[in-house]
């Protein structure tokens, strides 16, 4: 589907608070001291600014991820892998019933540029929405200075396996990533490796837990190993997933350490289906017909297995694949 390019229009900085207001397609985005206000032709929705920015920078970094990213119960994006829907109220019964729901489709690159531009203007020095809340700083108040450093980080995917010659490198003291305070009780050693000459790109191992323990970001997957289209993502999770993720395919969670509590909802209605508590060693599928949001009381390590096969989302959407991974005949 061909979509006309849409450019973000920025206002002059607000004379009192210093932030810009933005127009993107039919949506306007405005922030004040405490809140972000998203408006569209039929309505306006207000989100607490920390929640909005923590969701927005992850949505950018994830490349709009697999499926739906709900910033909250009302506003979010859906990835169509080339285009992105921005919606307000589309998956909220109350908004639909009163006819104030709205959805607009944009080219992916246009949304990325728009979200990056908004985030850069609205994130002040000293506030880092990719970190855990106790490390994040405050987004509240008027504009001070733009934050230094990259807006997003930690997303460079391994091409085959992290640490192989020519591939991405695990985090280390040398890369500026000390062990996080929450994993200071663990010991991290290196695997013992003997390589015969000529097999340097074949015989390889590294300490995956050490890499995760050094993450300076939370709820940000780091792609560490790839089997054809099967992607191993590992993440360091603390506090709550700043979005609600709606699946367009099945994915699998493997709890490596500690505990995460997951709220599970119907993807389309948001109605609650219940709760899953995952502890170290637990494995659980996240089916293609749900939304989920995680809560990690202590910083924990999570491994996620994704199937990145192109076009899967359409097969699930059309019902060509059942929305759960283990079909009836396999039980």
């Amino acid at each position: 589907m061909s979509i006309a390019s849409v450019k973000l229009i920025a206002s002059a900085p607000d004379p009192v608070l210093g932030y810009k207001k933005f127009q993107f397609g039919s949506f306007t985005f405005e922030r004040d001291m405490y809140f972000v206000h998203v408006s569209w032709p039929k309505g306006t929705h207000t989100v607490e600014v920390d929640r909005f920015l923590r969701a927005m920078v992850r949505d950018i970094g994830w490349g709009f991820f697999y499926g739906w990213i709900f910033f909250d119960d009302v506003f979010g994006t859906q990835n169509h892998y080339g285009t992105v829907d921005i919606y307000a109220g589309t998956y909220s019964k109350g908004h639909r019933d009163t006819g104030v729901d709205f959805l607009e489709t944009f080219n992916t690159d246009d949304v990325r540029v728009a979200f990056e531009t908004i985030s850069i203007n609205w994130i002040n020095e000293g506030y880092d929405p990719l970190r855990a809340p106790m490390e994040t700083g405050s987004p509240l108040g008027p504009k001070t200075r733009d934050a230094a450093g990259p807006l997003i980080r930690g997303f460079e995917p391994a091409r085959r396996m992290m640490g192989l010659p020519g591939d991405t490198k695990p985090r280390s003291d040398a890369s500026g990533h000390p062990i996080n305070r929450a994993f200071a009780d663990m010991t991290f050693d290196k695997p013992d490796i003997e390589i015969e000459p000529g097999f340097e790109d074949q015989v390889h191992a590294f300490n995956l837990f050490d890499h995760i323990a050094r993450a300076d970001v939370t709820w940000n997957p780091s792609f560490t190993s790839i089997t054809r289209a099967c992607i191993c993502c590992v993440t360091s999770e603390e506090h709550m997933l700043p979005v609600i993720h709606g699946n367009d395919r099945n994915e699998w969670f493997i709890q490596l350490t500690d505990e995460i509590q997951w709220n599970i909802q119907d993807k389309n209605t948001g109605n609650p289906r219940g709760r899953i508590v995952m502890k170290a060693g637990d494995v659980c599928a996240m089916p293609a017909d749900i939304r989920h949001q995680g809560f990690s009381p202590k910083r924990s390590m999570l491994m996620v297995l994704e199937n990145g096969t192109p076009g899967l989302e359409e097969k699930y959407a059309k019902g060509e694949l059942e929305p759960f991974p283990i079909t009836a005949s396999r039980w």
Partner: protein, 163 residues
């Protein structure tokens, strides 16, 4: 404030819970250490399956057969210590099947490539087309990122929480 990180092991793990108004088979909730405790050495028990792809739990104890796969696989040690030994295969031993690990007949005929001794948290490459063998002095556990194949064992009704 000091933190206490919780990890699991064959001898000590605490399983979580699943409380849903839904068919629990859709979530296939299991625990790696529980699966490994009930497995025979070197059975490759699937705990995750995403169309052709899989994650398999392996209880490493003693020495395994030699395996190979037509794609890269990756083993993450979850408990204990496992030694992985790698050799090239002879031309007549190279995998011809589509996906997943398969046992090879006899010993690999190619050059020695190296070995890795890995403990909890270490991830090991099991390279495409190479022969690999696992050995462990004490019962240990690893999780293998792979594709479903001839050695994959499915016993979902026995490993998953269903009520």
């Amino acid at each position: 404030m000091s933190f206490k990180t919780k990890v699991g092991s064959l001898n000590s793990y605490e399983k979580g819970s699943i409380d849903l108004n839904d068919d629990l088979r859709h979530y296939a909730f299991s625990n790696i250490f529980e699966v490994a405790n009930a497995a025979k050495p070197y059975e490759r028990v699937m705990v995750a399956s995403n169309l052709e792809y899989a994650a398999e739990v392996v209880r490493a104890e003693g020495t395994s057969a030699w395996y190979t796969a037509p794609h890269d696989e990756f083993a993450i040690v979850m408990d204990g210590e496992i030694e992985f030994t790698f050799f090239q295969l002879g031309d007549d031993q190279k995998p011809t099947h589509q996906a997943g690990a398969i046992k090879i007949n006899g010993e690999p005929k190619g050059k020695r490539m190296g070995k890795v001794r890995a403990r909890r948290g270490h991830e090991v490459l099991l390279p495409k087309g190479a022969a690999y063998q696992l050995s462990a002095i004490k019962p240990s556990v690893c999780l293998i990122q792979t594709s479903a194949g001839p050695e994959s064992v499915e016993r979902w009704s026995k490993i998953c929480v269903l009520d």
